[in-house]
């Protein structure tokens, strides 16, 4: 772990949706971390004003790179710059990777249950990628709640993992607009129960999304009989 700020360079950018993109950052030295960790980015304006924001790592690209996915917020101070302005070759001040609780590594016992609301999928994607790369025999499920098909991050890769990895089930729930034949509506307790491993399987559960999403889903799972100690949550605010 790096305790101080260092300068990383944007080495690639890739659109995920109309309002979100993935930034690949290249560090001067080796950078390593575990799925679920985040980095802090610090931006400094011409007048010296500084803003620090945390972004989850979506992918580790050894030895010197990692990827973040940033979604533009309507009232955002930093995210519009990262999504619309920042270009390949630009530099950013970065601290981390940091965080040690909302993390998963393939040696953790128990089926892996991932539950994402919107851009909360980012750290869970790092976990899913790690699961696939390790050819883990642990069964894994991702329940991903999104507004519409146009809001899905990592669409192609999720399709491939879901089709090719027999250990992984990917379930996308649409709240506002769905592809033909798929139900539409806010995620319900019943839908979460139906999509998740049952409590008797003793899954380790990671939930990431807005505060309201995380708190509702975590409460439903505890109601269903899941041990609160096996549920880890991360709120991204809003």
């Amino acid at each position: 772990m790096r305790r101080s700020w260092q300068v990383a360079e944007v080495s690639a950018v890739r659109a995920e949706t109309a309002r979100a993109r993935t930034l690949r950052l290249r560090f001067p030295d080796m950078v390593a971390g575990v799925p679920g960790q985040h980095v802090d980015l610090r931006l400094t304006a011409d007048d010296g004003y500084q803003a620090v924001r945390s972004y989850s790592v979506a992918a580790w690209v050894p030895p010197r790179e990692l990827e973040l996915t940033v979604e533009e917020l309507d009232d955002g101070e930093v995210s519009p710059f990262l999504v619309d302005v920042l270009a390949v070759g630009d530099q950013l001040e970065v601290r981390g990777p940091v965080g040690g609780w909302f993390t998963w590594t393939p040696d953790r016992a128990g089926p892996l249950q991932l539950i994402a609301g919107g851009s909360g999928v980012v750290p869970l994607m790092a976990m899913l990628r790690s699961h696939s790369e390790a050819r883990s025999a642990v069964p894994a499920r991702l329940l991903y709640s999104v507004r519409s098909p146009d809001h899905v991050f990592y669409r192609g890769e999720l399709d491939v993992i879901g089709q090719e990895d027999p250990q992984v089930v990917i379930d996308i729930a649409y709240s506002r607009e769905a592809p033909d034949g798929r139900p539409v509506g806010r995620l319900t307790h019943e839908a979460v129960t139906a999509s998740c491993f049952p409590p008797e399987d003793e899954p380790v559960i990671y939930i990431c999304g807005s505060t309201g999403f995380v708190e509702a889903v975590a409460a439903w799972l505890v109601d269903d009989g899941h041990d609160a100690d096996r549920i880890r949550t991360e709120r991204y605010g809003g």
């Binding site: 772990m1 940091v98 965080g99 040690g100 609780w101 909302f102």
Partner: protein, 94 residues
């Protein structure tokens, strides 16, 4: 006082410098440390507590009773960490 005029507590001690190695482990990842709330006595990892950043500094509150656990304020080239609401932190060894 003993015969040398020193209080017994004044003898047989080192100073805080000798804590450096033992405290060094704390910088690995404090958010995983289990924190007991001094207000309600509930415990959980700092990562699961509620962080408010739209304040003069960062304020961490207990997820059970909402009491303030700690505040971290930036004062230019220094930071001030207050731990008024923390009874203890349990930190895994690396």
């Amino acid at each position: 006082m003993d015969s040398t005029g020193q209080h017994p507590l004044d003898q047989d001690h080192l100073d805080g410098n000798a804590l450096a190695g033992a405290l060094d482990q704390f910088v690995s990842d404090l958010t995983s440390a289990e924190c007991m709330c001094a207000g309600c006595g509930s415990s959980g990892p700092l990562a699961a507590a509620l962080l408010y950043t739209k304040a003069p500094g960062m304020v961490l509150r207990c997820p059970t009773c909402t009491a303030v656990l700690l505040c971290l304020t930036d004062q230019g080239d220094r930071q001030v960490l207050t731990l008024d609401g923390v009874r203890h932190l349990v930190i895994d060894k690396p």
